[in-house]
C-alpha cells in the first residue's frame, strides 16, 4: 500500500521486480537507472546477495502529473531470489504496489520461471495479497539469445506456462540493450496508479 508523505506532499509507491535468479531483473533496473537519469533522485543502492544482486532506487515518473496535489515517487526494487534472504524479501515485498515478473526465455529455465512465479504467489499471500489482484506485468526477457543459437521458448509457450490464468500484460524484452524495458515499466506504472486510484476511490 502506497505511503502518503504529507510533509513532502508525496505519494510513495513500491514496484518490485521479481523473477528467477539471473533472469535480468537487475539488468532491467540498471538500464532504467542509466537511461532515465533525469527522473531519478539519489543513488542506486546495490547489495550483493548470493547468486543475485538486490537493487533499489527512487524513480520519479514524468508526465504522470500529480495525484490530489501530491507528487508520485516510485521506489523500484529487485528481490533476491534465494530462499535464505527472507528478511530482505519481507522488507521489499511489504506494502508492494506493483510487480514486474521477469521471465527467462531460455528453454532450460522453463521450470525456474514457473517455480519463481509460484514463489511470488506464495510470498504475496503471506501479506494477504493476491497475485490475481496486484498490478502485475510480465516480461519475457533475453529474446535476443535466439540469434546466438541458444534455444529459447516461443512467446506462446511462455504465455501458456505463466500467463494462462493471470492474463497480465506481457512484453518481450532484451534488458541488456534496453529493448522492452521502458514499455514494461510504463505499463506497470500505469496499472499501479490506476489500481491506487481505484482502491482509494478517487477519480469517480
Amino acid at each position: 500500500m502506497a505511503i502518503f508523505n504529507l510533509q513532502k506532499r508525496e505519494i510513495e509507491c513500491k514496484i518490485v521486480y521479481y523473477g528467477p535468479g539471473r533472469c535480468g531483473k537487475t539488468t532491467n533496473l540498471e538500464y532504467i537507472f542509466k537511461s532515465f537519469k533525469k527522473q531519478i533522485s539519489g543513488d542506486m543502492v546495490s547489495i550483493d546477495t548470493e547468486g543475485d544482486r538486490t537493487l533499489f532506487f527512487d524513480f520519479l515518473p514524468m508526465g504522470l502529473g500529480q495525484i490530489k496535489g501530491c507528487d508520485v515517487r516510485m521506489q523500484l526494487y529487485t528481490v533476491p531470489g534465494q530462499v535464505k534472504y527472507s528478511s530482505t524479501r519481507k522488507l521489499v515485498l511489504r506494502g508492494v504496489d506493483g510487480v514486474v515478473f521477469v521471465a527467462d526465455s531460455l528453454e532450460i529455465r522453463r521450470n525456474k520461471n514457473m517455480l519463481a512465479l509460484k514463489d511470488l504467489e506464495q510470498n504475496l499471500k503471506e501479506y494477504n495479497m493476491s497475485i490475481f489482484k496486484i498490478p502485475l506485468v510480465l516480461q519475457y526477457n533475453k529474446r535476443d539469445l535466439a540469434e546466438q543459437g541458444l534455444p529459447i521458448m516461443p512467446i506462446e509457450m511462455l504465455e501458456h506456462d505463466l500467463n494462462r490464468q493471470l492474463k497480465a500484460p506481457s512484453f518481450p524484452a532484451v534488458a541488456f540493450t534496453g529493448e522492452g524495458v521502458g514499455t514494461t515499466l510504463k505499463e506497470c506504472l500505469k496499472l499501479t496508479l490506476k489500481h491506487l486510484q481505484k482502491s482509494l476511490q478517487w477519480g469517480q
Binding site: 505511503i3 508523505n5 510533509q7 513532502k8 510513495e12 539519489g42 543513488d43 543502492v45 547489495i47 550483493d48 546477495t49 548470493e50 538486490t54 533499489f56 533476491p80 535464505k84 534472504y85 527472507s86 528478511s87 530482505t88 522488507l91 511489504r94
Partner: protein
C-alpha cells in the same frame, strides 16, 4: 514521562528496518533507542533528517553498531525528537544500510540477539565458585526497616517456617537446596537481590522456606518492611497478583527440578502431547490457563527436551515483554495436555501494572525472573552432566 518521546513500540512488531524507513520517509531528527532484555545497555541510533548519522551498541560504534542492531529482533524501540549534534560516522545511504543490514542478517553475519547457551541475564555474572551470581538493582532504602549481619551462617533454612524478606546490602548469599545427598548450591545472590519468596505476602501466615540461604563470609542484610509490601501486594489487581504468584511457583519448581536432576530421579510430568509454543518462535502474547496442564520445556538438542515446569489452571505462560525468565517463547517450548484451555491476557495492562509497582516490588519480581533463568540453566547443566554419564556407561 519524556514528552520528546514521540514514537515507540515493539521490535517484533515493527523491525529496525521498518522503523528506519518510517523515520526516513518522514525526515525525522532525533535519537532512536533500542532496548533488549538480552543486552546490557540500550542501542542508540542518531538520526538527522531521516538519515542515520551515528550509532552505538555495546562496545560497537558507527556503522558496525547499526548493523549489529539489526540482530535485535526482540525488544522495544523509542524515538526521541531532538536536534542531533552528533558527529557523522555513518555516511551510507539509508536504504543501502537497511538492505545491507537485512542481507547480513540473512547471511548469518549479524548475530541475532537472544538467549544462548552462555547467556546470563542482566545483572548476572559468574564468580570464582563457578556458581552463577545474580545481583539486583539499586536498593530502595525506604523499605528497609532494620539491618542484620550474618557471617558464614544460615539466614534461612529450607523446611523451616518464616515470612521475612531481606534485601542484600553487602556480601554474597548462597542459595542451597537440601537433599538426602547433602546440600546442592544452585545460585548465589549479591547486592540488591532478595532472600525470601514473593508468596510471603499472600496471607498473613508463616510459610515453609523452599531453600536455604547461607552467608558466604560477611553478609549485611536489610530487613524489608513486610507489612508495607503486603499492603501493596493486596492492592495489586488480582490478575496481576496471580501472575506474580505463578512466577514464584515457577521459581520453586525449577529449583526442585535441579534436585530431581541432581539425584537422577525420574520426572513426574503429566502427558502433554500438543506443542503450543515452539522454542525460538516469537509470539508476543501471554496466556492465562483455565483448564488442563502445560509443560514448559527446553530443548537440549534436536532430539531431547528437558521438561522444567508444570503449569496448571490459573498459571500464566507466553511472552512477558517486561521480564526475562529465559523460558518460553525464546528459551523454551510449551506443551499442553488434551483438555488444556487458555485465554490470552491483555499484556498492555500487565505492563502498566508492572510500572505502577513500587521499585522494591518491581526489583523483587525482576530478580525472581532472573533467578528462574539462571536456575533453568543450572538444571540444564545437571541434565547434560548426568546424560554424559549415562552415555559413557
Amino acid at each position: 514521562m519524556d514528552y520528546n518521546q514521540v514514537f515507540s513500540g515493539y521490535l517484533n512488531f515493527l523491525s529496525l528496518a521498518d522503523v528506519l524507513q518510517i523515520l526516513g520517509t518522514s525526515g525525522c531528527s532525533g535519537l532512536l533507542q533500542l532496548h533488549s532484555k538480552f543486552a546490557e545497555s540500550p542501542g542508540v541510533v542518531y538520526i538527522s533528517k531521516g538519515n542515520p548519522v551515528h550509532a552505538s551498541a555495546g562496545k560497537l560504534e558507527g556503522l558496525e553498531a547499526l548493523y549489529a542492531l539489526f540482530g535485535w529482533k526482540d525488544g522495544k524501540f523509542e524515538f526521541f525528537r531532538r536536534t542531533v549534534h552528533q558527529g557523522k560516522t555513518i555516511r551510507k545511504n539509508r536504504m543501502e544500510i537497511i538492505l545491507d543490514g537485512l542481507r547480513l542478517l540473512d547471511d548469518g553475519q549479524i548475530p541475532v540477539l537472544g538467549p544462548s547457551e552462555n547467556f546470563l541475564p542482566h545483572g548476572a555474572e559468574k564468580d570464582s565458585s563457578g556458581i552463577p551470581l545474580i545481583k539486583g538493582p539499586l536498593v530502595d532504602y525506604m523499605y528497609v526497616v532494620d539491618e542484620e549481619c550474618f557471617e558464614n551462617e544460615n539466614v534461612i533454612v529450607e523446611g523451616r517456617y518464616g515470612s521475612w524478606i531481606w534485601v542484600i546490602l553487602e556480601g554474597v548469599a548462597e542459595i542451597v537446596k537440601e537433599t538426602p545427598l547433602g546440600p546442592i548450591p544452585i545460585l548465589r545472590l549479591g547486592e540488591g537481590a532478595f532472600i525470601g519468596n514473593l508468596s510471603s505476602f499472600l496471607l498473613h501466615q508463616q510459610f515453609e522456606r523452599t531453600y536455604s540461604a547461607k552467608a558466604i563470609g560477611k553478609l549485611q542484610l536489610g530487613v524489608l518492611d513486610s507489612q508495607r509490601l503486603s499492603k501493596e501486594f493486596a492492592r495489586i489487581p488480582s490478575v496481576f497478583r496471580g501472575f506474580v504468584l505463578s512466577l514464584n511457583n515457577r521459581l520453586i519448581q525449577v529449583s526442585d527440578r535441579v534436585v530431581e536432576l541432581a539425584l537422577n530421579k525420574p520426572d513426574t510430568f503429566p502427558f502433554c502431547p500438543n506443542q503450543i509454543i515452539k522454542q525460538g518462535k516469537s509470539d508476543e502474547r501471554l496466556y492465562h490457563i483455565t483448564d488442563g496442564y502445560a509443560i514448559v520445556s527446553r530443548s537440549i538438542d534436536q532430539k531431547q527436551d528437558l521438561p522444567l515446569v508444570r503449569l496448571v489452571a490459573n498459571d500464566y505462560f507466553g511472552d512477558v515483554p517486561f521480564l526475562d525468565m529465559g523460558l518460553e517463547p525464546y528459551g523454551a517450548s510449551v506443551f499442553a495436555s488434551e483438555d488444556f484451555q487458555a485465554a490470552p491476557v491483555d499484556i498492555e495492562l500487565f505492563d502498566l501494572e508492572f510500572t505502577r509497582l513500587s521499585t522494591t516490588f518491581r526489583n523483587m519480581i525482576e530478580v525472581t525472573a532472573s533467578s528462574i533463568s539462571i536456575i533453568t540453566k543450572v538444571a540444564c547443566d545437571f541434565f547434560n552432566r548426568t546424560r554424559g554419564k549415562t552415555n559413557t556407561k
